[in-house]
Every structure is written in structure tokens, then in C-alpha cells.
Symmetry: D2
Subunit: 331 residues, 4 copies
Amino acid sequence: MQRFALIGAGFIGSVHAANLAAHPGIDFRLVYDVDQQRAQNLAAAHGAAAAATLEEAFDASAIDAVFIASSTDTHAGHLRRAAAVGLAVLCEKPIDLDLDRARDTAAYAQECGVPVMVDFNRRFDRDYAELKRVVDSGGIGKVELIQLTSRGPSMPPLSYVAVSGGQMRDQTVHFFDLARWLSGLDPVEVFATGSALAEPGIAEYDDVDTSAVTLRLPGGALVQIDSVRRTGYGYDERIEIMGSDGMVEARRHRNGAVSRYSGTSVVDDGLHPGWFERVQPTYAAALAAFVAALESSAAPGPSLEDGLKAQAIAEAAVLSLRTGRMEPIKY
Amino acid sequence: MQRFALIGAGFIGSVHAANLAAHPGIDFRLVYDVDQQRAQNLAAAHGAAAAATLEEAFDASAIDAVFIASSTDTHAGHLRRAAAVGLAVLCEKPIDLDLDRARDTAAYAQECGVPVMVDFNRRFDRDYAELKRVVDSGGIGKVELIQLTSRGPSMPPLSYVAVSGGQMRDQTVHFFDLARWLSGLDPVEVFATGSALAEPGIAEYDDVDTSAVTLRLPGGALVQIDSVRRTGYGYDERIEIMGSDGMVEARRHRNGAVSRYSGTSVVDDGLHPGWFERVQPTYAAALAAFVAALESSAAPGPSLEDGLKAQAIAEAAVLSLRTGRMEPIKY
Amino acid sequence: MQRFALIGAGFIGSVHAANLAAHPGIDFRLVYDVDQQRAQNLAAAHGAAAAATLEEAFDASAIDAVFIASSTDTHAGHLRRAAAVGLAVLCEKPIDLDLDRARDTAAYAQECGVPVMVDFNRRFDRDYAELKRVVDSGGIGKVELIQLTSRGPSMPPLSYVAVSGGQMRDQTVHFFDLARWLSGLDPVEVFATGSALAEPGIAEYDDVDTSAVTLRLPGGALVQIDSVRRTGYGYDERIEIMGSDGMVEARRHRNGAVSRYSGTSVVDDGLHPGWFERVQPTYAAALAAFVAALESSAAPGPSLEDGLKAQAIAEAAVLSLRTGRMEPIKY
Amino acid sequence: MQRFALIGAGFIGSVHAANLAAHPGIDFRLVYDVDQQRAQNLAAAHGAAAAATLEEAFDASAIDAVFIASSTDTHAGHLRRAAAVGLAVLCEKPIDLDLDRARDTAAYAQECGVPVMVDFNRRFDRDYAELKRVVDSGGIGKVELIQLTSRGPSMPPLSYVAVSGGQMRDQTVHFFDLARWLSGLDPVEVFATGSALAEPGIAEYDDVDTSAVTLRLPGGALVQIDSVRRTGYGYDERIEIMGSDGMVEARRHRNGAVSRYSGTSVVDDGLHPGWFERVQPTYAAALAAFVAALESSAAPGPSLEDGLKAQAIAEAAVLSLRTGRMEPIKY
């Protein structure tokens, strides 16, 4: 049994809490949150206790692993603290919005030798795992072109946008990771262009809500990613990977399988209302993979290096948004 | 080159005329119709001549084959006339609405030794031919269950219903033929039940517009057919064949491939407006198969026997509609 | 909070146990099973206790409701016991394989005035609930034709077949209930025919594994149901309802949304491996509906009467299998 | 009746010949080809005559319109000749591979005042016309993002590549036109990157076979186009247009509608084997639109200006392939 403390009791923390409680190999001990009452409520709902202090939550004599799901600006600090006392860490992305600080933090954690996994949960999606299996088994030959679509249903509030790091670092970064993971290659160059169409107000934050990114992989394979904050038709995510011998596609998901025929058209159930309905099962699957790695003393993945590389692509993309040219990616 | 005369210049005659004109191995000579003007118009549109008399249309010195597409009650007479003078015949179904007369006519044609094909055009549908290929190649093992759906978009006029022979003989008979052809088996028993739901007035003609038929094949495999005169959502036809090793399905056809995503639903292009749009390519394919058989001196098919057998199933189905029990089929 | 005892700790009992444990309005107290060890294991996994005796499990001072998930032959006895002491009951179908005993049991429970729900779980499927909503809202006009497909992936063991009551009472009965519920009408006549194709050995049990059923509804609407024990291609369930103004369809579910394009074909993920993967979410939804009814003192449904009516249709279908004719249904 | 001469009797010329012969408002008079025998064969197959000389083919006293379907390097010359004598022109794209010469030619034709249409046939695809209708009717609000996929099944021979002008000018140019037409906007900037993956040999021609293009439209809307010469899985073309109120998609076309279910997968009919099967009906539709414009004295479209603008985008894309940066488009 792995004894866990959960850091952060907000929306995503509560998702993780339910998964921690349901996993048969996890002893879900503690919840910590800057808002004590919130920590107590979430802990009580799942038979855990609220940690009164960070010291308690990071007490290596009572805890084996921490799940860091607090606000982004606290990730690096919590990760260092956990590494310092030898706790295993499952950490929400990003390590830190500042890539240099993220690198330092990762280096420190590596020195400490603790197992750390970055929660790029989409890698654990059933369909994406199948894409990966097909590619790795040579089912489509050599990868030549990847198309990724990442489209959210509605504009997040400006208050969120302000601290998100922008579309590349906050949204598209998941697909930078998927592109690396699915192809097994580190992109060498990136081009990005975008606009503030759904919410012109975000231009003040030097941000975009609709963007087109192109990556070049070693050997010349190409990746196109479109990222949209507000579709007006639900949550839309899909991936195509074309290779020298064929193509494999993870189709968009529908919210149901009912079709209504009348007159000259057919009305089907639409897409999921939001990202959460689409990716919900991936969180439990990611957690299970982390626990399985701890149990078998294997290195859990996605690793800190994976987290850093996705961020490095995002940084180059942000630069390209400004320069209007293909930028090299510096890992 | 096969020299053809077309008998009948109505709607379906005009479809056949265009195919006769376009086929490179056909010399389209004559059109006959009881309405001379109609014959002349159709002939003129395709570089053929109008036959003034039946004698001219059935003149074996100038014609090799006749395509009988006149009204149902004239089929048997024209078929006899053609057979008597040695002309090859492609005949719209049925041979005659009266099964005994149809049998006599078929026997006479067989005696005369002329090649005759009954135009069960759906056998030449690209998708149904593929179903047949999969079944014959053993792709689904031994056939166990067949589902056929035959649904028209709107109620035909009562004047048509009155002379149609009823839903079993007029509409479902195509699917009796498909069931035989696809399974390679002659059904042994049939159960049918139906209602006059779309047009209660047809009950006066002892007819139904919505029906459910079950066939038993030798060995115990089952066939279900639903036949509908009026869907309100376009023309709907589909077939599933389940066997001991899998299933093969010819999905419903859509009228286009456009999807509109908005809010919580997806609106797709609907079905074809009518049967003609769905089966149009099958007429040319059937004609081509007939000509190919003539050229190679092979027996064309579907044969007269195929026509008679489909009618025999329809007769037993009509009886079952009345008795409410499974009826044996007498071929 | 509703205090529950679970009767039966086999496969389906363990499914219900997990749902009982997860429901926030349920205090999951006791598990009873004829195999004490099995009861203890299941109880321990979910923080409940094992009941040493039936008396303990049906103690109305400690329990509000029992969930009967034991073997079929024990349902009626447990239901009577619960009703006698005033416990609410959620009961797996059927009440009893013998329709007369089922009726007596239902009458007794009704006399006792306890709330009873029969667990026709498919009524709580997301897609089927949507079909019902569309039909009830008049979205397809008057119901005219229903097509139901019920096909399991592989033949159950003969030992199961022997005590199952046969395909009509065990498998098709769920679709008799769906036909009634979706149309809002009680079928008046039934025709059934079937064969032992997948496992000829079941003919010794006077049973079939592949069958075709036709129901007539009041007013003449028709229902076709095909039931198959072994598909060889996974679990296949689908429903179409055609009305005077359109059609609504609950499509077959796929096991994933990945497509592989190569050469001249596209290979998609197939169907669910078994019925459980297809209907899993319906069990929790049914339980939630039962609890909601108890909380609001509404009558839970599907009711005992619903259970009896589905069984009555099955009995008439079994008779029709023998007589080869349309049989009236006696409720 | 419009009297037509066809210039060019190669593959695409023979496609146009069949359409010219079948159109009821066209009197198909002459075929000209540098290979006289080829002209005679094609003319004979459709009841037309072979023109012995270009003078005969461009004789305005006997001909109303010419259809230019000869090799690319002859387009401009034929177009000038037709314009000089007042003949209407339907011209295969491009006007000339050299944009300056194309502009001069277009200017001359415009001076002459003859009606000219450039045969961007995809505008006449049933599904793309529906996309346009939805966009123009405001069905998706303001256009924000367009995704176009253009993928051929197999590498064309190097001899073709050598004279094609390259992937941008030869293949992607159709989608530059579609992007303009569907959005109703002239792109202002373009970024392109590509690789020679399917056939490294084409790098010698400074060409690519797999490319990713991004366009910026006035107002900030974005367009992504992926172009592939060799898929290995058939001909793949699809378009998505996302707007402020929803999205509309023209899905990829399948070669048939048969699905084979067995084991754990479903095998569907794949894509069309080549571009011709996908777009075949568009040629007749384009010709019909041209004739309809002539009959009503309206200006036919796509116009010469449309042709020039698509070429101008291609030129900027070719430049971007080299510079690795977003390039302004000069119309």
C-alpha cells in the first residue's frame, strides 16, 4: 500500500481525491490546502484526514507519496520539499511556468533521486494509448504527418487567462507532449501564429485564443496543431497520425449514440460539454500507472524531462508567435 | 453489338433508355409504347426510333433483345411474344402478378430456349454485391440471421396501390430475392404481419403499408424483413447478415457527407429522398450484366426461376398475413 | 440515508456492492450469501458487514431496503420475506421463473404496501432514456415500428442454459420490457421462431439460441426483435423506433474510437467484448433512481407489474415457438 | 445550344469529352490534339469531329466556346487565341505556371471581353457547395479556423513532378482557391514548410511531397492545409470550417458502405482509390455552370482573377518554403 498526501483541494484536487480513495493499492491519508476548511471537507468525503500544516503533509515517516494539485505557482516549491525528504511525487503540469526555474527544480529532484511523474494525463487515454501502440508496432510505417486538434467549448475567465501562461503554455502544451510521445521524436523547430478572436480582451495579456502551430520533427516529418479556446459546439479533440504505410486516427468523441432521422437530415448527439467529460478516465489511469511504477521500482513516466521538453516547445512557440518565423527549439 | 428494342416509355423506361444509349456494346434501335408520342419523344432523345407497332418492335431480323419495361399486366404477353420469335429478354419484375400465369409464361420461355433475365436490380448494387462476395468467400462462416430493412419515403398514390399486388408482391419481393441470393438458400416457411398505418385507406385493398416478415431457411437460419411505405425521413434500406464467424452490414446511404456541429448536437445530411437516388446505378449494372451474358452465351441471371421463387415467397407471405401463422412456401 | 442489505454476493452482487458503497445517500450495511465466506469478502471490500443469517439481513430495525441479487429461484422467497417486515425491495428480474408464482408474490408484496422495483437496468441506459424522451415528446409522431437487436458475444455454458428459463425468459425479456416502456403500449400478440444454431445441444432443453420475435401493439404498430446468444463479434445491442414523423436510433456502441486506414480498408475498434461493458453504468443509475424514489416517497419503477408483464410476453413467445403462430398475450 | 471545341484529348480531355457529349445544351463539335490520331479516336467515341488544325478549332463562325484541357504550357497561348476571336473559354488551371505571364494573359482576355472560367472543379462538389451555403447563410457565425486536408494515394512519376510546378502550384493551389471561396476572404500571409518523405528524389526539383501550410485571413482567422502526395491508404480529402457559432465539416468519402464485424474489430470499405473517383461528378457540374452562365450572359466563375489569386498564394507559399517565415501575399 502506498500512503498518499494530496496537496490542493480545488476542482482538480477533488477529482484526484476520488481516484486516490478508489484505488485498492493506495492508503489515502491526508489532504492539504491553503484553505483549511476546503481540505477538511474533501478529506472527510473520502475517509482521509486534513493536514494542518505542510510539515504534516510532507512527513516522510507517515507518507510515501504526494500528489501535487495545488496552484501552478506552488508546484516547484512543493516538489522541492517532497524531493528533499525522499517522497515520491505525482505533479500536475507545469513544474513551473518559468522554464529556467522548472529546469532547476527538476535537476534538484533528480539529484535527490525520488521518483517523479508529471501528470500529462492524456497519455493514458484509451484511444491515444492505442494510437501509440499502433505506431510503435510499425502499423503505419514511418511517421510522416501528425494532425492534432485541441478545442475547448468556451472562453475561460480573463482572471484565469491572466495567470495561465497563455494558450501555448497552458493548453497546447498537452499536445506538444502528445506529439513527442506518439512520434517518439523531439521536434526541432516550431512555427506558431494566432489571434484573439473569441475574446479580443486577451490581446492585452499578449495571448491568443485561436492558434495554428506547425512542428518539424527530425527527419522532416510534420505536425500541425490547432488550438481553440471557444468552439460553441462542445469539447473537440482528435488526432491523426499518417505514416508511410497508412494512417491511424482517434476520432472525436460523442456525448451519446442516439441519431434522430427526420425530413432531410439526421441529428446526432454532439460532443462532450467540456474537457473534463472527455478526459475523466485518464486521471485514474495515470494514477494507477504511477502506483504500478512505485510498486515495481520502475521509473514513472511521463518524467520530469518530458515535462521540461513540452515546456521548451511551448517557449519556442511563444517566441514564434511574435517573430512570425520558424524557431529552433532549445531543450 | 446487341440490337435492342425497349418496350415501355414511362419513368422507368426512360431510365433504361439512357442506359441503353450509353452502353458501348448496345445498338439502341427502337422504343415502343402504347402512347406513340411518348415513344417518339423518348426515342428522339437517345438517337433511337419509335416502333409504330409491336410487330416492328419484336422483329427478330432487326432486333436481338427486348427490354420489357411496360405496365405489369403486359409483361407476360410481351415475354411470350419475344420468346416465340427467339429474342433475348430483359424483363422488369414480376413476370405476372398471378403466380400460375407467371409459371406458365416462364415454362413457355424456357421451352423456346431464349435467354431471359428478370431485372432484380438490387443484386447489382455495389454494396450488396460485396455482401454476397463476403458470404460466398466464407467471411462470416455459416449464415444464421439476416436483417433487411426496406422503407420508402412516402405513400404511393392509392391508384398505384390498387394495381400493385400489395406490399409483399410489389415491395418486399425485392428483399425476398435478396434473402435467397445472399444466403444461397430457398426459404422454407414464412410468417408475415402488417398494418395500414400510413394510409388506412389501403385496408380496403386488403393491403398493408407497414409489415414485419420472418423467413426460415433450410437448417434453421432466420430472416427478418421490415417493409415500410412511408418513413417521413427519406429512403431507408439496409442489410445485415450474421454468420457463425461474424457479421457483414450494408449501411444506410446518406445523401451527402456534411456534418454541422453546434450547441449540443451534430446535424448530418440525411438519407436519399427516394428509392431511385439510392438504386440508380444498379440499373446500368444490371443491363451490363445482361449484355455480358449474351456476348458470352452464358445464362443471364437473375433467372426466370429466381423471379418465380421470389413471387412464391410473396404468395405465402400474403397468405400468412391472413392466417397469422407460419406458412410453408410452395415453389 | 437509506440502510441497505445486499442479498447475493456473486458476480452481479459484487457489481451492486460497489454501487451501494459509492452512492452518497446509501448506508451500505450488510451482505448475505449462502456462501458465508463470499459474503464476508465482498462486505470487507466495501466497508459493510456480512450477515450471518437471513434474519439479520431482513431485520427492519436495522435496515431500510434490501437488494435481492441472489439466484433466480430464491427471488420470490426473499421478496416475500422483505415485504412481510416492511422493507423496500430492489429485485433482480425475474420475480420467479414460474409466472403464476411470480403473480402471487407480486400480489402479496402489493398487499404489504412496500415499495418494490424490478431491476430492468436497461431503462436507465443514457441512450435508451434519450429514445424514450424523444418518443414521449412527440419527436417522431405516433410509434409505428420498433426494431430491437439483442446479441451476446458467446454461448453461455449449458449449465446456465438449463436453469435460465430459455432465451425468451432470460434474454429477450429485457427487450420485451424495453418495447413496452419505449412505446408506452402493452403488446397484444406475439410470434416467435428460433433455432439452436450456435449450440445444437440446447435443443435438448427445448431452447433456442437464435430467434426472431414479432409483437403487435394496440393500434397495429409492430415490433421486431432478434436475439442471438453467440455473435463471434462482441456484444451487439441496438434499437430503432420509427414513427409517423421520423425515426430515432440508439446505435451500437464501439469499444473505442480509433480507426486504422491502410490499403483499401478502414479498421475500427469493434464492439464491447460482453454485455457487462455495454450496460455497466445502468446499474448505478437504476440504484440511484430507486433511492430517489424512496427519498421522495414516490413509487419506484419499473414496478412489479412491469416485471409481470414482460414475463407474460415471454410466456406467450415460448408458446408461439411451439405453435408457429401468432399468440395472444395474457397479462 | 453552345457549340464547343475541346482542346486536348488526354486523360482529362476524355473526361471532359464525355461530359460535353452528355450535356443537353451543348453541341459537341470538335476535338483538337497535337496527336491527330488521339483526337480522332476521342471525337469518334462521342459523335464529334477531329479538328485538323488549330485554326479550325478556333473558328468563331462554327464554334461558340473552347474547353482548354491541353498541357499546362499551352494554356496561355490557347486562351489568347480564343479571346482574340471572341470565343468563350473554359480553361483548366493554371493559366500559366509563370504568374506574370498568367497575369498578362488574363489582362488580355479581359480586354477582349470574352467570358472565361477557370476550372477549379472542387467548387462544384456537392459537399463543398453545402459548406459554402452554410457559411454564407451565417450558420456558423464568423469564420475563425479552416482545416483542409489534401492527400493523394500515390507518388506521381518524377517526369510529372518535374513539369508540375511543385506541390504548392500543382496540388495545394486547389485548396488555396477553396479557402478563399469558402471564407469569402483573400488571405494576407502564408507560412509553408515541407519535406520530401515519400520520394526523396523530388528534392532535386526543389519540391516537397508532404507539407503544412498556414494562412492568415484579414481579421485574424486562420487556415491550416496539409498536402500529401502519397498516403498508402487511398485518396483523402476533407474540410472543416469553424466559426464563432459552430463548425461545419465535409467528411472524407468512403468507397462503399459495407462494414465487416468479427472478433474485436470492424472493417469498413476504405477511401476512394484516387482523386478522380472522389471528384468525378464535379467536372460535369462545373461544365453545366459554365453553360448556364453563357446562356444567361452572366460572368462565369471561378474567374480569371480567382485563378490568379490562387496562384499568387502558391507563389508566396513557395517563397515561405525557402525562407521559413510568414510571407505576405501579393495579389
